[in-house]
């Protein structure tokens, strides 16, 4: 009776706990136009909320700090051009860092030097663009940015997914090592005999 109970307990615990997988800290930082955006969370999809992130310069000196929002997302606007390092400590040994070479995107300002007299230049002059059209473009860019962010999340979740093949691959390696161990132990024993 107790044997059956213990077998059932082992099986039950394994089934219950296999509902999900272990996680690790995921920390991404990327340049988005004139700001730096980033996300902090775990590989199981949970995001780190209101987490302090330390910003250090190339010399390792803390120059600023930023906090994640309720979606684990943060936006940081650097004051100067530099090699920036973002560090986070979630406690109990869960640390992560990400580095970015911050280069302000001044190149985004379109210059049409030498083309002032052409029809194209006239077309692209700010004065010719209606305010409503500008608002529409900004709105489209914001939508696109949100979509790219979502795609980044999905891509990361896909990369972090522990599929069965990897688990079976790991067990396969262990079996291989057991075989190797047997071979070495048998050789040692034969030498002894």
């Amino acid at each position: 009776m107790l044997i059956r109970l213990s077998q059932l307990l082992v099986l039950l615990l394994l089934i219950v706990s296999s509902a999900a997988w272990a996680h690790k800290v995921i920390f991404d930082v990327y340049q988005s136009g004139s700001v730096i955006e980033g996300e902090l969370g775990f590989s199981n999809g949970d995001m780190a909320v209101a987490q302090r992130i330390s910003v250090t310069d190339g010399a390792g000196v803390e120059i600023d700090q930023v906090y994640t929002d309720e979606e684990g997302f943060f936006v940081y606007t650097p004051a100067t051009q530099d090699h920036l390092n973002f560090e986070v400590d979630l406690g109990a040994g869960h640390v992560a860092e990400a580095t970015i070479n911050w280069v302000p995107k001044s190149a985004e300002v379109v210059t049409l030097k030498g083309a002032e007299n052409t029809e194209i230049a006239k077309l692209y002059k700010p004065s010719t663009v209606a305010a409503a059209e500008q608002a529409s473009v900004v709105s489209e860019v914001q939508k696109l940015s949100a979509q790219v962010r979502q795609m980044r999340r999905e891509l990361r979740a896909y990369k972090e997914k522990n599929d069965l093949q990897s688990v079976l691959g790991g067990i396969g390696y262990i079996l291989g090592l057991v075989g190797l161990g047997y071979y070495l132990a048998a050789r040692r024993k034969l030498r002894g005999d």
Binding site: S6, V10, S17, A22, A92, H94
Partner: protein, 201 residues
């Protein structure tokens, strides 16, 4: 329970690597032919169990199973747990290569401690006693691992008491689950193959 790359000081990493190398050498020397399958099986158990997490509030914890490994293997638990940690780091990025040594020490030394502290009570014991001592061994191994993780972080600059509290309190459910699981496993082994607890370890 996996400390990641970059969380610990160089001194801790070096000491961890050195101690784990000694443990590996001792574990491999004390692994007779008939213990190899059990070692492989427990390495696979640890490898898979650590990938499985137990949801707890906003976070989640994973099983370790180092207590059972220690009770059955003794020093041979060191190579078994090392292989599990190495494969987890390579396949899934859990922990890391530079922290492999200290992670091995934190998980495997409590297993060896449980071997010496608890296993004498299991040898020749009735299955019901094995259930109790198995639970004690499983829970104790996890508790010791949390303390060693906290100590590793403390030596690297964190404050010991708050870190130890955080790690230990957050792992109380794991201690309980592992105690149940280890108790049930030891009970089964006592019933069907008690000779697995023989040998010097």
């Amino acid at each position: 329970m996996h400390i990641v790359d970059g969380a610990l000081s160089t001194q801790v990493l070096v000491v961890g690597a050195a101690v784990s190398c000694l443990g590996l050498a001792l574990g491999l020397r004390r692994m007779p032919l008939d213990k190899i399958p059990v070692t492989g099986m427990l390495a696979a158990t640890f490898f898979v169990a650590s990938l499985i997490h137990v949801p707890l509030g906003p976070s989640s914890l994973h099983l370790i199973m180092n207590g059972v490994a220690g009770l059955l293997l003794g020093w041979a638990a060191v190579p078994a747990l090392f292989i599990g940690l190495l494969l987890q780091a390579v396949f899934f990025g859990y922990g890391g290569i530079t922290v492999l040594g200290i992670n091995t020490v934190n998980v495997a030394l409590p297993a060896v401690a449980v071997f010496y502290l608890v296993r004498p009570f299991i040898i020749g014991a009735r299955a019901s006693q094995g259930l109790f001592w198995g639970a004690v061994g499983g829970g104790l191994a996890v508790a010791l691992t949390t303390l060693m993780v906290a100590a590793s972080l403390w030596v690297s600059g964190d404050e010991f008491i708050p870190t130890a509290k955080l790690v230990l309190i957050s792992h109380i459910p794991v201690v309980i689950i592992e105690a149940l699981l280890s108790g049930a496993t030891v009970y089964l082994v006592c019933k069907v193959k008690p000779e697995l607890f023989m040998g010097r370890g």
